[in-house]
């Protein structure tokens, strides 16, 4: 657990970080260090240059306005989990952040670092996919672009982020009065990572579900939208029976690669996707009944 040698630069601005990335061929950004440092210590990553963006203040903080939550990429999981404003505006984010790792991890780890690391077992990609979040990216020469999670995550540890690009912020819509959202995960007993995670965002009018966005992660290389489950849910009363019926469509949406290991096989995880979707929907609707 001793990292190989690297050069270290601290960037004061995003532009400087991009400049440093451009001028060093195998440079890597480091923010909270909670994904990169373990890889360095296992010597599985060997960037010759680390560009520390951890002190760029423009990348930090949570702002909520006009129905949009904007979270700077360097905002820590702890800041997200403990934000009262966010709890009211988009509670699922605060809740998901509070379930990541342990206190030490949440204190240092950042939402941006988590997203660009694209670990299939982490929670943010699933939650942000269900929320319909947008990722704001800055590139060389001050260029900017915005992508949706579906166009960002490519595979395990792989995204469409360019080598000279920086994820600057993440935007998600605030949840409306009739919306309920929940993230349920089966955590690995050792790592706490998601064996299966299910995020649901449902709009409820009266008892009836009028819209739904559901995503699962942990068991797939990149988060998968559960469109069959969503379709089965919309127009139905959110009772136990209908929820169970809708969740049973999960396997339709899981036709691609399913991850498995000695702790949890692909078969088990696939079955658990349905269970976790159900749990998330039950929890979400219990909230709506109160």
């Amino acid at each position: 657990m001793y990292a190989p040698e690297f050069e270290y630069h601290r960037a004061a601005t995003v532009a400087e970080a991009i400049q440093l990335l451009s001028s060093n061929e195998d440079a890597k950004l480091i923010a909270g260090g909670h994904s990169l440092l373990p890889l360095l210590k296992l010597r599985l990553a060997r960037p010759s240059v680390l560009v520390d963006i951890g002190r760029i203040s423009e990348l930090k903080g949570i702002t909520i306005s006009d129905g949009t939550v904007r979270i700077g990429a360097l905002t820590t999981h702890w800041e997200i989990s403990s934000s009262h404003d966010l709890e009211h505006a988009c509670g699922i984010m605060a809740e998901a952040a509070g379930g990541i790792g342990d206190t030490q991890v949440r204190n240092r780890g950042t939402i941006g670092g988590n997203v660009v690391h694209a670990d299939p077992a982490s929670d943010w990609p699933t939650v942000l996919t269900a929320l319909g979040a947008k990722f704001n990216i800055q590139g060389a020469g001050g260029s900017t672009r915005t992508v949706e999670p579906g166009d960002f995550f490519v595979g395990p540890l792989t995204t469409t982020l360019g080598e000279q690009e920086v994820l600057t912020s993440i935007e998600a819509p605030t949840l409306g009065h009739h919306q309920r959202a929940e993230y349920a995960k089966m955590a690995h007993p050792a790592s706490g990572f998601a064996v299966v995670g299910a995020a649901v965002v449902v709009t409820v009018e009266g008892d009836v579900c009028t819209a739904a966005r559901i995503a699962v992660g942990g068991l797939v290389p990149v988060p998968v939208r559960m469109t069959s489950v969503e379709t089965a849910l919309v127009g139905k009363a959110l009772n136990q029976e209908n929820i169970a019926e809708a969740a049973s469509h999960a396997s339709n949406d899981l036709q691609g690669e399913i991850l498995g290991d000695f702790f949890a096989s692909a078969e088990y995880r696939k079955a658990m996707a349905e269970v976790e979707i159900r749990h998330a929907l039950f929890h979400a609707t219990e909230v709506s009944h109160h």
């Binding site: 657990m1 001793y2 990292a3 190989p4 040698e5 010597r43 089966m186 690995h188 007993p189 050792a190 790592s191 000695f262 702790f263 949890a264 096989s265 088990y268 079955a271 658990m272 269970v275 159900r278």
Partner: protein
């Protein structure tokens, strides 16, 4: 100037008081000196290259690039240490077992036999430089076939680890009492009145996880020919002894220091190659050398625990009296025999096959087996959890077969209460026991009938609640040295303690045991304080430095309080005797007229005519007025060799719920009723029980080593190896009864391992009980959600 002597003494009894642990402020505020905290002038750092193969021939090792890397002082391989360091010894060779104590070189010479086997060591100015240089070493291996399962390793055609150990059999040891074969023949011959149950049980391999990784700092002073070795050891005197054998340095020239050790659970009992490599390096280079394992390095190179495949049968009469037990056990030893490894599945396991029950006929065939895995040795409970599991599982199966309540099944077989000695069929003589007492208290505490009623109700609602009750007893407080010799333990098992008073009335107690988290800096002080009336604050317990402390065999086998504590109290009593004689002299009274109470020696009938222990300490140290022939000083030494082991016991209850949707188990309730005799400090006892229960729960629910078919360690870090976490556990309810040990001067028995001995099977049985409506009778441990879910799916499909 402070007035000496005459300090007021205490009147309330401190033995039995739950005072706070005196070691904790130091440990919790970062003021402890763990081995890795040691920094010596000129110290350099070692890093060890370990085999990535489970089994391979080493064709060549090219270290030239590493030698030339920045900061590197030296690179050594097995060729350098071979013949300089003697093999790492195994120190427990059970007799009559045809044991093959194969050579265990400190570094592999031509063959690696497990992932983690040391291949080369780099010494550099910094650990980073040493790690960088490791990557430059080029080892050319030819992979060989490997085997990781102990039963498979004994099958014909299995890859062979050692030429000298055909079929990978390290030993075959037999425990026999009564006539088990006759008992089973009788059962088979009379099926109207008998029943036999059989089961294959796998005690999965575990990784001990002390908070502090292993570490060594070795410093050779060539001018004096002396070695100082800071070592994360539970038994520094044994390290000194074995280090002398491995290095050839005289035992009198070796100082081993292990004062602050961050837990061990047995994993720091063993003598490791790594500490000897650090010693080799300092002797070669003349500079102090530090080596500290990383966590993942420890997972490969620190001993593992358990790893049994057990085939067990139990015979009983139809009215539920057990008539016989037979077991064949394949115990994985790893690639080499670790220091105490062979003693674990034999002496500490097979001899406990009667447990707390009258089982007249017992037979166990225990095969120690070499596999291409990390060596296996004592891990909290060490052999007794595996024995308790086997017994409690089989009794549960018998109860189910005979449709007798599992508690009643146990009652019909428990040994009746005894106060001074009870012989069991395996040849042991238990010291004292009241198994019914702990069982009654446990059942009363949980309201067992109410629990069963609740279970029935939940079952009718389709919910899965499980209840299990275990009764156990275990062997600890190791032990009589004569027995140690007879069972092949390569050392004694006595302890010594020096109690030394200074003129100021303050006390140092020097002990040979080596506490590393168990709290004896507190409980030993309580013993002395209780005996002599000196405030606890005036007593300091000194341990863990072989140059300062008297000989002792260390801390393991729940022996420190039982054996070491006995030495402490006997020394304190000698002080009291001398104090009486000196007080008689000073008070001008006859010695037989002197009485002692609460730190005061006084003339019978005249309590005002007294000398405090502090007065006595002052006079003995200045020696101005001593009786004729009395030596100065107030100090006593005791070498205590216990006449028997101690046998704590208890009854544990687990309540679980199982979610059939996903296979999740929740441990709802855990009740531990244990009897360790009189408790010196009940808060520390409770802490020991908590820790032990949690470790046992870890085996039942979360922990398990996974090797793939090529011997690669898949659970190589805490990302994959699941330790118990606080939020997954209930509040553990701890109760006790008190049955003193008749042979121990304090009446005490060990309590450090009881939790892990009883809890694994109790939780396991509770989960199986929960799944009873589905007809599930067996699951593989750890009881992961997936395994439980799969079993439920199969049962529902069937």
């Amino acid at each position: 100037m402070t007035k000496l002597g005459g300090t007021p003494t205490m009147t309330t009894r401190i033995f039995g008081s739950g005072i706070r642990r005196r070691e904790d402020p130091r440990l919790m505020t970062g003021q402890a000196d763990y081995t890795d905290d040691i920094r010596l002038r000129g110290m350099v750092h070692a890093a060890i290259l370990r085999s990535p193969h489970a089994h391979a021939k080493i064709n060549s090792i090219d270290t030239s690039a590493a030698r030339n890397a920045p900061g590197v002082l030296a690179v050594y391989t097995g060729a350098d240490t071979d013949g300089v360091l003697n093999p790492i010894p195994c120190a427990w060779l059970p007799p009559d077992s045809d044991i093959k104590a194969v050579d265990h070189p400190a570094m592999a010479v031509d063959t690696v036999r497990y992932v983690g086997d040391a291949v080369a060591v780099v010494v550099a100015e910094s650990r980073y430089q040493a790690e960088d240089a490791l990557e430059l070493i080029n080892v050319d291996y030819s992979a060989l076939p490997s085997v990781v399962n102990p039963q498979a390793a004994m099958a014909s055609g299995a890859p062979q680890l050692h030429e000298d150990a055909p079929n990978n059999q390290a030993f075959h040891w037999v425990v026999a009492g009564g006539d088990a074969d006759a008992a089973f023949a009788a059962a088979a011959g009379d099926p109207q009145n008998h029943v036999v149950v059989s089961e294959n049980i796998v005690q999965q391999r575990l990784i001990p996880n002390a908070m502090e990784p292993r570490s060594a700092v070795a410093s050779w002073q060539s001018a004096m020919g002396e070695l100082t070795l800071w070592s994360t050891s539970q038994n520094p005197h044994i390290v000194r002894f074995l280090c002398s054998l491995v290095t050839g340095i005289g035992e009198h020239k070796i100082r081993v220091i292990a004062v602050d050790v961050g837990g061990g659970f047995g994993s720091k009992v063993a003598m490791y190659a790594d500490e000897m490599l650090a010693t080799f390096c300092t002797m070669q280079l003349g500079r102090p050398v530090k080596w500290t394992a990383t966590r993942s390095e420890g997972y490969m190179s620190t001993i593992h625990g358990r790893d049994h495949v057990q085939q067990v049968e139990m015979a009983a009469t139809k009215d539920g009296k057990i008539t016989g037990l037979r077991a064949t056990v394949y115990a994985g030893m790893g690639a080499y025999l670790s220091t105490a490894g062979p003693g674990v599945p034999t002496i500490l396991h097979g001899l406990m096959y009667s447990g707390p029950y009258e089982i007249p006929n017992v037979k166990g065939d225990i095969f120690g087996v070499f596999t291409n895995t990390t060596p296996v040795d004592a891990y909290r409970g060490a052999g007794r959890p595996e024995a308790t599991f086997l017994l409690e599982r089989m009794i549960e199966l018998l109860a189910a077969e005979l449709d007798i309540d599992p508690v009643e099944m146990r009652r019909r077989n428990l040994i009746q209460p005894f106060e001074d000695g009870h012989d069991v069929s395996t040849g042991l003589t238990y010291d004292s026991g009241n198994y019914q007492g702990t069982l009654d208290l446990a059942l009363q505490h949980v309201d067992y009938p109410a629990l069963r009623k609740e279970q029935t109700e939940l079952r009718s609602q389709g919910q899965y609640m499980g209840i299990a009750v275990s009764t156990y007893c275990e062997i600890c407080g190791l032990g009589p040295s004569q027995v140690a010799g007879a069972v092949g333990f390569g050392g004694g098992l006595w302890e010594s303690a020096i109690v030394r008073f200074y003129a100021t009335g303050k006390v140092n107690v020097f002990v040979g045991t080596s506490p590393h988290g168990q709290g004896e800096e507190t409980t030993f002080a309580q013993i002395v304080s209780d005996e002599l009336g000196v405030p606890v604050e005036d007593i300091e317990i000194i341990h863990g430095d072989t140059d300062i402390t008297p000989m002792g065999w260390g801390t393991y086998g729940s022996r420190t309080t039982v054996v070491g504590g006995a030495a402490v109290v006997l020394s304190a009593r000698k002080i009291k005797e001398k104090g009486k004689a000196l007080a008689a002299h000073l008070l001008e009274a006859a010695e037989e007229d002197i009485e002692y109470e609460d730190g005061k020696f006084f003339v019978r009938g005249s309590p005002d005519q007294n000398k405090t222990i502090q007065d006595i300490a002052l006079m003995a140290n200045v020696a101005w007025n001593m009786p004729e022939g009395m030596e100065p000083g107030l100090e006593a030494t005791t070498f205590y060799d216990p006449p028997n082991f101690s046998y704590p016991f208890g009854a544990h209850v687990a309540v679980v719920s199982v979610d059939a949707d996903n296979g999740h188990i929740v441990l709802q309730r855990y009740v531990a009723v244990d009897d360790c005799g009189p408790q010196i400090n009940p808060v520390i006892v409770e802490g020991q029980v908590h820790g032990g229960v949690v470790q046992g729960a870890g085996q039942a629910l979360w922990e398990g080593v996974v090797y793939d078919d090529n011997g690669q360690l898949l659970t190589g870090s805490m990302l994959d190896y699941a330790l118990p976490k606080a939020h997954l556990l209930p509040n553990i309810e701890v109760l006790s009864t008190v049955t003193p040990s008749p042979h121990n001067p304090l009446g005490v028995k060990g309590i450090g391992e009881t939790g892990s001995i009883a809890s694994t099977v109790t939780i396991y049985n509770a989960v199986i009980d929960a799944l009873k409506p589905l007809g599930i009778t067996k699951l593989e441990m750890p009881l992961s959600s997936q395994r439980v879910w799969q079993a439920i799916q199969q049962a529902k499909g069937a």
